[in-house]
Structures are given as C-alpha cells and as structure tokens.
Amino acid sequence: MNEVVKLTAKDWASDQEVRWCPGCGDYAVLKAVQRTMPDLGTAREKTVFVSGIGCSSRFPYYMASYGFHTIHGRAPAVATGVKLANPELDVWIITGDGDALSIGGNHTMHLLRRNLDCQLLLFNNEIYGLTKGQYSPTSRIGTRTPSTPFGSVDRPANPCSFALGAGARFIARAIDVHKSLPDVLKDAHGHRGASFVEIFQNCVVYNDDVFASFTAKEFAADRQLWLTQGEKMLFGGGTKGISFDRERMVLTIVDAADSGVLVHDRKNRTLAQLLIEMPATAGFPVALGVIYEDPAPTFESAVLDQNRTIAAGKKPDLQALVAKGQSWQVEKEPRAE
C-alpha cells in the first residue's frame, strides 16, 4: 500500500458555502470537527454524517465526507439503517435539542439503548433557531420566546440525564468554543458503541449567552469541572474539589486539599448521574468532558453475529425456498384424456 498522506482540516471541508448566522457557535464546532477528523485516521469515503433538521443539521453539507441530511428527528433511525447495511462506515449523527429530544426523542432513546456504534453530537442551544426562536425542550423555565411571550412554564430536559436513563454507555459534555472539544470528540470516536456528546452551543441570534454563566471567561474557572479519568475532580483554578457526602448521598464542594475529593471513574454510573445533575443553583460547577464510559456490545455487531450464526451452513437456494412447505406434483391434466 502507498504511504497514506495525512489529510488536513481543509481536506475535510466541502466546497459548500457555510450558511450559519455570523458568530453562531456552530462554526466553532464545525472547525473543531474538521480539525479532529485527520487525527482519527478514518478515510473520508468511509465517513458518513447523518443529520435531522435544524440549524446544526446543515452540518453534513460542510464536510467533505458522505452526508445525509434527513428529516426532523429521524437521523438516529436513518443512521441505524446505514450502519446495519455497512458496519464499516464511521457514522456521525448531528442533531440539536429540538431534533434529538423533542420530535426525535423516541429514536434517540432507542439508538442509545441498542448501542449502535456511532457518535451523536447534540448541539444544545436551548432554542429552536431555524424556526425563528421558539423555546425548546431544554429551555429553562421562564424562557420568553415568540411562542412563550410570558415565559415558558415546562421543566426542561437534561440531555445527559436522558442519555444515561436511556442506557447510553458513553456520555460527554463540551462547549462549542472550548479548546477541549477535539479531545472529547476523539474520546467519543474511540468508544465502540453509541457515544453521546452534548455540546453547549451559543445561538447568537435567539438565545445569546444562555450558557454565559459558566462559559464566559470570568466564570469559567469557578463553574467548569473538567473531568479526567483517574484524576481528582478539581475546579476553581485547583482550589476546590468535589466530594461525596455518604450520609446524605449527595455531592458536596470541599477544599482542594480535602482528603475526600473524588477521583474520576468513568465507569461509575451512579457517580455519572450525580455529576450530570449537579445543581448550578447551589453553586456547583458544570461537569464537562467524558462523564461516563462503560463499553458494551454494539447493536450492529449483535445483529450481524446472529445473522452469520443462523445462516451458517444454510445454502441460499431460492428455488428450494419457493417450493418450501407441503407441495404436490400434478402429473397431467386430470381431464385431458
């Protein structure tokens, strides 16, 4: 084989003009993905980006790989067909909060429970951008939009809680403009099975700065907890840590020097739930990075294994199939004599 020329971010960009609003967080994610792809070592022709409907779902058009922009909420279902048909393809699902959790909530749930080998990037901007700014299933109570002029009243969904509840085996969080996004993407790609990545994405037009309380530079240190496997859960510039109060079975904030500061264990599902749901109102930081990872057999491999096992030794004889069952031979026309 010839020496494979390493591709660059530019090689992963299609010739299509990118059409998001200037300043949209989607640009940063696109750049991060294009920058990460060459490091993953998968060929462009083996890569498929599948999306639903929404601002983020235009994403596949901007990648120089194969791409399928499907219908609202159904990207996980289409991706399932793609992967079952050709498990060698590297499948990425691009979706948003409305696409994945509202109209397509059912498919997201089943994709995660089945554990299809793919990466699902959920661009969470807590708003419907493409339809001009209605509140979404992740919008906080009181969000004022054209459809909720007096503020939304329903409780928002927490994407990572949803994923965990649905049985996801890889859950991560990242921020559109944060430098760690490529690392999270690499980990998601490295995981065999459905990798669920929630990306906090700023919609400058309809929901600007909705995540600023923890993404803005001045709050970042205090409000972001970046998790690293086997390392202490520290934040606040290394001054504070997360500990577990055994009596009340809750997480607590302690001094970094406290002997009770937890060490991150991606495999700990109970811990993952506590980390995902740390209440911002009580001064907790937002857990970021790979929160949970515990690989399990993938859906497509289970399907193909069964197909192979059951078919083993059987000849696909079409003529025998059509003649199957109880049959009888008519020798001549009974009344022909």
């Binding site: 194969y66 499907t70 279902a77 067909g81 793609v82 060698e88 059509v322 009888w328 008519v330 022909a336």
Partner: protein, 626 residues
C-alpha cells in the same frame, strides 16, 4: 413467467353446468382452533388436487370473552374441480362449534345448506352469551337449512380418554375431531394431518396421539354412524391445472419469498425495517427466518424508524424495504417524501385493512389507494402496484424491487388483509425463468477538481446509486430542494420547477418498461368493462364469467400497475361503452380513472370490511347493461 392467478380457460368459461365446487365454513370460538382446522383442511384439499380459495375471518381481540358473538372466529374455504377465484359467496356447509358461531354465521349459509352443530356446547349459559332466548337446535328457527347435531365435545372426550389429559386439554382436541369428520365428508387423506400433528407435538407425544385419536374418531364417526341423507360423502374431482409442482401459499408467504427473490434478482442484500401491525406483521415474521438470503430484519421502535432505517440502508447500498398497514403508512409518509426527494430505491408494502384510524384491523378493505397515489406533501409521485391474489403477490414483489432499483425510486406495493391471510394453490415458479436485473453502483470517481454529480441522470432519468465507502465520490444528499445534476442545495425557482418535472418524468418513464394492459376475460372493446385492482380479482372474474355465459358483452380488466398506468390504458378503456369499477372502498380507482382518462367510470363501492360476493358484482353488471 409464472402465472399467478387462475385465469379461466376458454373451455371452462363455457362449461355448463358449472363444474362442481363446495363452500365450507368452520366457525367457533377464538379458542377453538378454527384457523388451524381450516388451514389443515386447506392443505388436504390442495393435496387432493382441488383448486381452492380461503377466507379466514377472525376477531380483532386476541382473547375475546369465550362464547360471545364477537369472539367468533371463522374460516371459509371454496374448493372444486374448476378454477376457483373466491372464497365463495355462500357456504354450503357450516360447522358451528358453539351457539355464538351459529348465530354469527348461519345467515350467510345458502338455503338448504347443511349445519353441523356441536350440541354439547349449546348449554343454557352459552345460549345466553350468544343472545339466544331458546335453543335454536330445538325450535324451528333453522328450518331453512338441514341440521345435523351431535355432541362433538363428548365424542372428543371419549376418544381421547386413554391419554389422560385434563378436561380442558382434552376438549382442545375438538377441532381435530371436527376436521376428521370433514375429511371423511370430502374423501380426503388423513395422513398429511397425522404427519403434521406428529411434527407439531414432537415434544409432547401424548398430545400428538390424543389429537390423532380425535381426528380418527371424527373420521370413523362419519363412516359408521348413519347421519341421514344430508351428510354424505362428496367426491370432488381434481381441478384441471397445468402439470407441475404445486404448493399452497398465503399472500404473506408469497410476498415474503417474492421480496427475497426480488432482492436476489437485483443482486442485493435486503434490510427489512418494520414495526408490528395487523395484518402486516406476518411478512416480518417470515423474513426474519431467512437470514441465509442476506436479509437483515429490523423491528424498529416505530413505523417512522422502520422506514428511515430502510432508507438509510438503501443509501448505504442495500435494498431497503418497509412494510405496514394504512395507519403505519400514514406515519411513514414524511419519510416516503424523503425517499422521493433523495431518489433512493425503497419498497413500501401496505397490507391494507379497514380504516380510517384504527378502523377494522382484522378486516379487509382497499381504501388506501388515494394514500398510495396522492398521500404525500408536495408533488411526490411514486410508482404504485397492486397484487390481485396470494400467488400474484410473488410476482408483484419482484416487480416492485425491479422498478425501485432501476428507477431509483420508492415503490408502493399494495396488498390487503384478505390476500395476506388467504391461501391458494400456487404453481411453484421456475426461478431460472426470471430475468435478473442486477444493480450497478456508480463507482467512477471524477477527475480531481471536478465535482461529483449525484443527480446526473441516465436515459430512464434515474440518478446514479453511489454507496458511501466509494472513494472519490463523497457527496451530500438530503430532503432540501437541490440543483439538477450537482445536487447542491438550490431553492431557486428554476431548480424547483426543473426538479419537480424530472421527478415526475422519471416515474412516468416506468410505463416504458411495463407490459401493456391485458383484458383478462372477454374482448377488447365492447359494451362494458369491469375494471378492478387488488383482491377483488376473484369475484370480478367469476361474475364476468357468469355474465358472459348468459351472453352479456362484458370484459374483465384488472390493473396491476396503478401508477403509472400501462401506456395502452386510455385507448383500451375508451373502447368500451361503459366502465364499472368495483372496489372495497367508496370509489378511489374510479376517481383516478376519471382524472387520467376522462372516462365515465361508475363506482361499485363496498365498505363492509368483507370481500365482494360474485352475486353482488353480477347484479351490478346486469344493472349497467339493462
């Protein structure tokens, strides 16, 4: 190509009196095993060389309360020594396993027909449940018919006594006793049933023996007990059929093997995405066992995921197929539009049932024709073909796969609950007689610097099928309007007008590769054409035959290719003074014919959830020609 339906030969069409046939209906409680009895009787009838058609009629409830009229399950079979196309208008024999079964079914028995009743079940409790004030076996209410009664329950209990079954289990053998009697009445061999019971109960030999004993006892009862002149042995000669290998087949079975054959002829593996729904599920069940044919079945989380996975598979280079019934097709509609827009091959099977909404899940109707032809947002034409009988479903399935892959389009294949469940003898097709239609995947990468053209078109106007994984042909497709040839997003007025035109012209092109419409009985041109589609084939064919025997100038035209129609259709229809369109809906094909050909198509609507009787169509023919 295998002939799928029982076209009447010229000799038969003119035979007088009609050759002998017999209609028998087995009716009992849902728990009495009537479908099994009917199925096994069908098999023995087929093995005896009769032509036949069946009509299973069962309740929507899985376990309806015992003894009630809505828990009645029936199985009707019409068999004879001539071509049989329908399950028969009126039964000649009704086997009633309880009062409710009698009550529901006796009305349709022909005058003078024979009732065989299990008097053991005519207890006061069961009579009340069925809504009888007095025992109909004892008063004159059944005087129009011949009645034979015996205590089948007790006779069965006696027969299976040596096997030490519990009372409930012992009574379950009643259906085999009844089947034994029926086998005696029509001079059928018991051996195939004995073989079947032995296999079925291989793990419980005691049950096999008990059932065989019940079967033998029923048979012996017919032989030895004087039951009066009304119960006598009938011998119905074998029907004249082409020599060859035959089997019985239900529509669900023939459709399943037809789809397998279609995929094989295209040289493709299949991904079948489906969600359970009555009466379409048997297709999923059949296909899920055929993994050695490169078939992956995917029971999705819902109807939408089922079709979307099929679309995803087609995109990735397999043959995507999805299947449902009307309500499920409604859910798939948006995704069908995506397949139209992305121009991917896809077969959508609709096993129609009575609607709208949940409607009549277990009854038959052909009321989804508008849905198939028109039921999508936007201008979204796609080919529609309809199967006329269980055996015909095989060829239609292959045809659907051919059109989908050649024209890069979703194809709607219509069948219905009647076809799916009904059985008929089928001359096993010689697969070497089917021409393969291998798919060609586009894999020529353009020179560097030149773009990929996923929406370039061949002479059929079909676009290339490019599988992900093909180097140098990376491209993006989607549901958004696009520019011709390049497929790049393009909302411009010119692009939308041109793409709308191209999508329609491509589907219209299918007409170039389908056969001209034939007249299946009668002459080209004349006073009246009876035009049908789908499972009304049998009753229309027989009604036209009878009318022609009486000298009426009438022809039968049955349409397989509903969209696009065969090229000669306009000229053909215009050759008749009148056009009658019998349909199990309120007149959908009628509308399409009027719209496309400006002909005065008259509807004959039936919306009872039951198939047409021959007599109903015959009367309408007479009405038109009077």
């Amino acid at each position: 190509m295998a002939s799928a339906t029982h076209l009447i030969t010229d000799d038969e069409a003119h035979a007088r009196p009609p050759l002998e046939s017999m209609v028998v209906r087995f009716a009992g409680d849902s728990g009495d095993g009537m479908q099994l009895t009917g199925g096994q009787f069908t098999l023995s009838t087929a093995l005896a060389g009769n032509d036949l058609a069946t009509f299973p009629d069962f309740p929507a409830e899985i376990r309806a309360p015992q003894g009630t009229t809505f828990g009645v399950s029936a199985f009707q079979i019409n068999f004879g020594s001539t071509a049989i196309d329908t399950a028969g208008d009126q039964p000649d024999v009704l086997v009633a396993m309880n009062p409710a079964a009698l009550k529901v079914n006796v009305k349709s028995l022909r005058d003078g027909g024979l009732i065989i009743a299990d008097e053991g079940e005519f207890t006061s409790r069961n009579l009340t449940k069925a809504g009888y004030d007095a025992n109909p076996l004892d008063d004159d209410s059944l005087a129009r018919w011949q009645l034979v009664r015996f205590n089948i329950s007790q006779l069965t209990l006696d027969a299976v006594k040596p096997f030490g079954l519990g009372n409930k289990e012992a009574l379950r053998c009643k259906n085999m006793w009844t089947l034994g009697l029926a086998l005696w009445m029509f001079d059928r061999s018991r051996q195939p049933i004995v073989d079947w019971l032995t296999t079925k109960f291989a793990k419980a030999p005691q049950l096999a023996e008990a059932n065989i004993a019940a079967l033998n006892a029923g048979h012996a009862y017919g032989e030895t007990v004087e039951m009066g002149a009304s119960v006598r042995q009938h011998h119905i000669a074998a029907a004249p059929v082409e020599p060859g290998l035959y089997r019985t087949v239900t529509g669900a079975e023939s459709l399943a093997v037809g789809l397998v054959a279609g995929a094989q002829l295209a040289g493709l593996d299949m991904l079948f995405g489906s969600y359970p729904i009555t009466p379409a599920s048997p297709l999923l069940h059949h296909l899920s066992r055929l993994k050695e044919f490169g078939i992956t079945t995917f029971q999705a989380e819902d109807e939408i995921a089922a079709i979307c996975a099929a679309i995803g598979a087609s995109y990735a280079g397999k043959l995507g197929i999805t299947s449902s019934s009307g309500p499920g097709i409604a859910l798939k509609t948006e995704a069908i539009g995506l397949a139209v827009m992305t121009e991917l091959p896809l077969v959508i099977v609709n096993s129609q049932r009575g609607g709208p909404s949940t409607g009549l899940p277990t009854k038959t109707e052909q009321s989804d024709l508008y849905q198939a032809v028109y039921g999508r947002n936007g201008d979204a034409p796609l080919p529609v073909i309809a199967a006329r009988s269980p055996a015909d479903a095989f060829d239609c399935a292959i045809e659907a796969c051919r059109i989908a892959t050649r024209y890069m389009t979703p194809v709607m294949l219509l069948t219905d609950g009647y076809i799916a469940n009904a059985a008929e003898p089928w001359k096993v097709p010689e697969m070497s007689g089917y021409a393969p239609f291998p798919v060609h995947f586009h894999d020529d990468a353009p020179p560097v610097g030149e773009g990929v053209m996923p929406y370039a078109r061949n002479e059929d106007l079909a676009r290339p099928w490019i599988r992900p994984g093909t180097p140098g042909l990376e491209h993006r497709i989607g549901g958004i309007e696009k520019a011709p040839v390049s497929g790049n997003i393009d909302y411009s007025p010119e692009a939308h007008a041109e793409m709308t035109r191209l999508r329609a012209a491509k589907v219209a092109n299918v007409a170039h590769s389908i056969p001209d419409q034939q007249v299946c009985l009668g002459n080209e041109g004349g006073r009246l054409a009876v035009v049908g589609w789908g499972s009304t084939f049998g009753p229309i064919h027989q009604a036209v035959r009878r009318a022609r025997l009486r000298g009426l100038d009438v022809a039968h035209i049955h349409i397989r290719h509903i969209a696009p129609m065969p090229k000669n259709m306009s000229v053909l229809l215009k050759g008749y003074e009148h056009i009658l369109v019998p349909e199990m809906n309120s007149g959908q094909l009628k509308t399409i014919l009027r719209d496309q050909f400006l002909v005065d198509a008259c509807p004959l609507a039936k919306t009872t959830g039951q198939p047409f009787t021959i007599a109903e169509i015959e009367a309408a023919i007479e009405g038109m020609l009077r």
